[in-house]
Symmetry: C2
Subunit: 333 residues, 2 copies
């Protein structure tokens, strides 16, 4: 196995986040399910945006947030995702490269605009996402460069890739190349409703060994196994995948391998502002810990640390150096 | 004098803010003067942006920030400023209308892109702005609708309007209409270097009574009168304008009228994050106090409160309801 050029390469829906603080009434009036990610078409995007308050904008996308976090810890990271060659696409490309991430996916020259997620943040810090995929729908297997995939120690994929029409083929192509090169493949289950849409396919990916590591939050885990019994679901997860990491908000996380289960507490915070990116940044810290061979417990602490940073401000990208945060916390970097 | 349709109407350079945290070295390497606003051309904008880290983006522009703040207190506000009919211009128009501000300036169909300010925020919370005016340069006197101007109790203008080529004519046109309708005209001096570029013209506006109220920070006041003696400068200011309000950062503000001088302390903060918009939001609170006839001292407190809100997070637009903040602080709304 050749030395890895990247520690982690992520593939996901490249989305520009348009974030706004709002109240519960806004969610109710627009028929939104709090805490979820709903796919919306252009007309609904326009209608939601028209009704939304003034926004804070930044680049987002689940796997992209994770990859930016990994780069922020000081690891070598790459991202594959599709934007359009438009103004917002230009901002997106700037931001991911400026975060120190290798990014070479060719932007779409025509077709729909760069995708946007309209994110409503309620007073309790919960985020409700409405995603117009836009150009992210144009991600195709030919966007996957075999040499780049084979050069990453871990390939990280988001479950949301099952939504655009050809991205799952890109996903499977990447996973196959990665395993062919002796690399690891990680998957995040993304969202409880996403799991509900693609449950059988996700279980198939796990049971056939297409993925080696799965990230899920409690709601996604419960959705995957159609149960509200956490321990029963965790037991199933341990059978289905080599390594499963389940985040439980303020209760921390559980790392479930075939050797056993390790629980790691959440990092303390001063104020919960916006949960957008909590799971993404947890995955960043955990994957960083893995590639540094820090052990599951330290990996869990690194994940908790990054998640705590991102939920204390608006937006899903870290505002400070995660490397320095980890050093201050005495965690291995 | 007819009843006012608006409490305050602002005119300024409509700019999209691209904010990033950085270090002193970045400023030094790029020859930036910390704390100032520098005008940049398209090539320099591209070069600075290329070197900048991942950004947080939101609508900005000095007078626009003030007007959004005034609307946030619950007053009736309008804004005049020029964007292009491009993607970022669309975001800009959404944001200002979503803040409850009347905005009807026709966007430019061609010419330069919507203007952007690249704002570097250092660890001490200070902001250094690099502004590419773009479409803001296209603001012309015909963008000034006499009926709208005459319908505002106070017309608020930014000194930065002296930079684009025709905006000062729009400024003077608006001031003349406002006075013809028996309204008040306020000016912010904007920036010490801006004052240095247009000192004689600004003094002329004041001495000829084109403006009734002037906002300045200490550096701008010192630049205006070419002195480092605050008391001497304040004395000059009192001679030159009916009402002068000077902000002094953590030392609060001084309201200087021909009747006397009132000092109001700053509002306490937990953490200084980003000073972008501090002066703009101070002006918002103060003008709101004026239109509510709250008295200079309460107006100063309202200004201090809004400034304190905006410097505790990234970006120059308030993240919470200023009306609720004022209510909680027991100030008149």
């Amino acid at each position: 196995m050749a030395d890895a050029k990247y520690d982690v390469l992520g593939i996901g829906n490249a989305l520009f986040d348009v974030l706004v603080r709002t109240d519960e009434k806004f969610l109710a009036n627009h028929g939104m399910t709090k805490g979820s990610m709903a796919l919306i078409d252009e007309a609904r995007a326009a209608s939601i945006y028209r009704d939304m308050g003034p926004a804070t904008m930044m680049s987002g996308g689940s796997a992209a947030n994770t990859i930016v976090g990994i780069a922020g810890f000081g690891a070598r990271a790459a991202y594959v995702g599709k934007v359009k060659q438009d103004e917002i696409g230009g901002l997106y490309i700037h931001d991911i490269r400026a975060a120190g991430v290798a990014f070479d996916t060719r932007p779409a020259a025509d077709g729909p605009a760069t995708g946007c997620s309209y994110i409503l943040v309620t007073g309790d810090g919960e985020r409700t996402m409405n995603t117009y995929l836009g150009a992210a729908q144009e991600l195709v297997p030919s966007d996957i460069d075999p040499a780049e995939i084979a050069a990453a120690q871990i390939v990280y994929l988001e479950g949301y890739l099952w939504d655009p029409k050809d991205a799952k083929d890109a996903f499977v192509k990447a996973a196959t190349i990665a395993h062919g090169a002796g690399r690891q493949v990680a998957l995040t289950l993304s969202d409880a409703f996403c799991v509900d849409r693609y449950r059988d396919e996700f279980l198939d990916l796990m049971r056939k060994g297409t993925v080696d590591l799965v990230f899920a939050n409690e709601a996604e885990l419960h959705s995957l196994y159609r149960t509200s019994d956490f321990d029963a679901a965790l037991k199933e997860l341990r059978k289905d995948v080599k390594l499963g990491v389940v985040t439980r908000s303020e209760k921390g996380c559980v790392v479930a391998s075939r050797d056993g289960v390790v629980a790691v507490p959440a990092s303390p915070i001063n104020e919960l502002v916006d949960t957008t990116g909590a799971g993404d940044l947890f995955a960043a810290g955990f994957l960083f810990g893995l590639v540094r061979n820090a052990g599951y417990e330290n990996a869990g602490h690194l994940g908790a640390l990054a998640a705590a940073e991102v939920i204390q401000h608006i937006g899903a990208r870290p505002q400070v150096s995660l490397k320095e945060l980890a050093q201050q916390a005495g965690l291995p970097v």
